[in-house]
Amino acid sequence: MGTLDIGGSQLDATWFLLLSAVLFSLGAAGVLVRRNPLVILISIELMLNAGNLALVTFSRQLQNIEGQLFALMSMTVAAAEAVVGLAILVDIFRVRDAEDVDDLSQLKG
């Protein structure tokens, strides 16, 4: 593993990837255990940004700009996804008072 030059000091890339993994796991755990739909959306954003961090890290490490470009694209998609998700939530809140995603289980078999 190479080292990265961050503001003059040298840091091993492993730390960044480790941070990314921790953030991703936190996000995933949030999605799984939290019940408030808004918090679930935020957790999803966290997972996406963990992925972005990993992309940028590898980009710097491999001196390949495509990874950073892809991170930008991923942010755009995340914004769009947030819009759709929030719109769905607003619509759900209009017709019913659902504070818990477990209340939204009408489609069970």
Partner: protein
């Protein structure tokens, strides 16, 4: 207007009429049906007449219908003297009969009334398609469609079980014929890779002079087979032995249907077929001989049955079989124009007989048993006279049209040189002519003369309405003076079907006159109504059971098939096929409902957990595999 467009118009008028009546007819007021139903047939008649006056002929191709390799079916109509002649018979006699139905069907309610004329127009369209086709595919389409419209019209009164059964019987018999036609076409296509008449005839019969040439039975194996298979179609459609049993039952349909389909046009399609295929039959001598033999035997066979029938329409049905037998005899010995002239005269007088009988049945409140009529002469004078004209024409008395045509057939059979088999056939035809005189006389005498039967359903029958009487009268006039058309008709047809090389017509005329005089004498003799069959009870029984054909077919085909079907239903369908289907469904329901419903909880976190666990498992698996390798 070009001839090409006119030929197409002949077909389009009845098709348009059928579509209009089928779509809106039952909602429109009744006069629309009255105008459209017969009107389109008369328009076709006008188009045919224009074509005739234009002296049109040709093989018109409009567009390519199907093209796949060598299989090339053009959308083409063949206009020659034969098809124009047939179109005249169909639209002319057909127009009169459809007009007549306006009165005959008056008691039907609105929707049924429109339905009747829809079917009639469909029939006229299909029959015109049949005779105008210039290739085998169109011929088969028309052939099957006349069978369909016959089925629909026999079963027109579908509330009556007997009508439905008769319609089914006619359809099944006709489908046997259709299969023969299709197989015959396959054989011809396999041999010559063509479906148009012109190409097949050119390749099958090397002589360009199709009229009298190709009489040598050379290398004609496929042609012989094809001709026999086509003959199966002709026999089924024309109710000849042994596929004849449907025609008497077909009398369950309304009387105008019997007049149009089961006397004047559809049942003569077999004669048309043999005439149209004459280049093939001229080469295929064995099949050609079979045509003549089948015709002669059927003529005699049907005439004997007609002696004992008591239902007036059944007598006419057997007489139709018998007369078509004459036509088969004629085309079978190569006397094509005589056969077609008899087709024309038969269309005149048999349609006349059926329609006059329809007048009687209409007045008698649907009673068809002749023994319950009697003495109608006083009440229905005009109908009696027209029926007499038809009867005399059927018997072949001078100067009615039947005399000329029948005399021509018998005379030509008698004078055919150097063929003793034909002489036997002539003898059969001669005997048939005598029997014809007998049963016709019996029919007329029983219905119209004598005292009214005590069982007569109506004391004072009403005269038929004008719309029924006028077509009957027109046909009566045609049946009287139609003989004058003999020479022009024959010479008109000869260019299409060829002329026969032998012509000792002096013998023919003498023989014919003697035949017909003898028949007329019997006709008069029959008026005394001696119940000769009472002296030979076994013959009476044999004839009343129509030589047990229905019973034999019942035992040989219907019952075994019934048994097989019943066995398959009880012991195969229910326990094997039904069980397999039902149990498969049950299994699917169990797996989908019982087994998998618990997986679908509806909780978002459950799905997400499965997803995460799956990703971790796959990712971890990949890492481990990497580490191990």
């Amino acid at each position: 207007m070009s001839n090409q467009a006119l030929a197409l118009l002949i077909l389009l008028f009845p098709a348009a009429g059928a579509l209009i009546l089928a779509g809106r007819g039952w909602r429109a007021p009744r006069f629309v049906t009255v105008i459209v139903g017969p009107g389109v047939v008369w328009l076709s008649f006008l188009a045919t007449a224009t074509l005739f006056l234009n002296k049109a002929s040709g093989d018109f191709t409009y567009w390519t219908w199907i093209k796949s390799g060598a299989f090339d079916v053009p959308f083409g109509l063949l206009v020659d003297h034969l098809s124009i002649f047939m179109c005249f018979v169909i639209t002319g006699v057909g127009g009169l009969i459809v007009t007549y139905s306006v009165g005959y069907m008056e008691h039907e309610d609105g929707p049924s009334y429109a339905r009747f004329f829809t079917y009639m127009d469909i029939f006229v369209f299909s029959m015109l398609l049949l005779v105008l086709a210039d290739n085998f595919v169109f011929l088969i389409v028309g052939w099957a469609m006349v069978g369909l419209s016959s089925y629909l019209l026999i079963g027109f009164w579908y509330q009556r079980r007997s009508a439905v059964v008769a319609a089914r019987k006619a359809f099944v018999m006709n489908v046997i014929g259709d299969v023969g036609m299709i197989l015959g076409t396959f054989v011809l296509f396999a041999s010559y890779h063509a479906v148009t008449f012109a190409t097949v005839f050119r390749l099958g019969c090397p002589s360009p002079q199709l009229l009298v040439g190709c009489r040598t039975p050379g290398d004609s194996g496929p042609l012989e087979l094809a001709a026999l298979l086509l003959l199966v179609g002709a026999v089924a459609k024309s109710a000849q032995l042994p596929l004849h049993t449907w025609l008497p039952d077909a009398m369950e349909g309304p009387t105008p249907v019997s007049a149009l389909i089961h006397a004047a046009t559809m049942v003569t399609a077999g004669v048309y077929l043999v005439g149209r295929m004459h280049p093939i039959y001229d080469v295929a001598v064995y099949a050609h001989g079979a045509v003549a033999i089948i015709g002669a035997v059927t003529a005699l066979f049907a005439a004997t049955i007609a002696i004992v029938q008591v239902d007036i329409k059944r007598v006419l049905a057997y007489s139709t079989m018998s007369q078509i037998g004459y036509m088969f005899l004629a085309v079978g010995i190569g006397a094509y124009s005589a056969g077609f002239f008899h087709l024309l005269s038969h269309a005149f007088f048999k349609a006349l007989l059926f329609m006059a009988a329809g007048n009687v049945i209409h007045a008698m409140h649907d009673e068809q048993d002749m023994r319950k009529y009697g003495g109608l002469w006083t009440d229905m004078r005009l109908t009696s006279i027209t029926f007499l004209v038809g009867s005399l024409s059927l018997v072949g008395v001078v100067p009615f049209v039947g005399f000329f045509s029948k005399e021509q057939i018998l005379g030509l059979a008698f004078s055919k040189p150097g063929d003793s088999t034909v002489l036997v056939l002539w003898l059969i035809g001669f005997a048939t002519a005598l029997i014809t005189g007998f049963y016709t006389g019996r029919m007329w005498w029983l219905s119209f003369w004598g005292k009214p039967s005590p069982d007569r359903p109506v004391e004072h029958p009403h005269a038929p309405p004008l719309v029924m009487m006028v077509p009957v009268t027109i046909l009566a006039v045609l049946a009287t003076v139609g003989g004058l058309a003999m020479t022009p008709t024959s010479s008109f047809l000869e260019s299409a079907v060829g002329r026969i090389p032998w012509e000792e017509m002096t013998v023919a005329v003498v023989v014919g006159v003697v035949t017909m005089l003898a028949a007329a004498a019997l006709f008069a003799g029959a008026m005394r109504m001696r119940p000769w069959t009472a002296f030979v009870p076994w013959a009476q029984r044999l004839l009343e059971h129509k030589y047990y054909f229905d019973e034999i077919y019942d035992a040989v085909f219907v019952r075994p098939l019934d048994w097989v079907a019943g066995f398959a239903f009880r012991d195969v369908e229910r326990p094997v096929i039904d069980a397999a289907v039902v149990d498969t469904g049950r299994l699917t329901r169990w797996t989908s409902v019982e087994a998998s419903r618990n997986l679908q909880t509806g909780y978002f976190r459950n799905y997400a957990l499965v997803f995460v666990v799956g990703v971790v498992a796959i990712g971890g698996g990949l890492v481990i595999m990497r580490a191990l390798s």
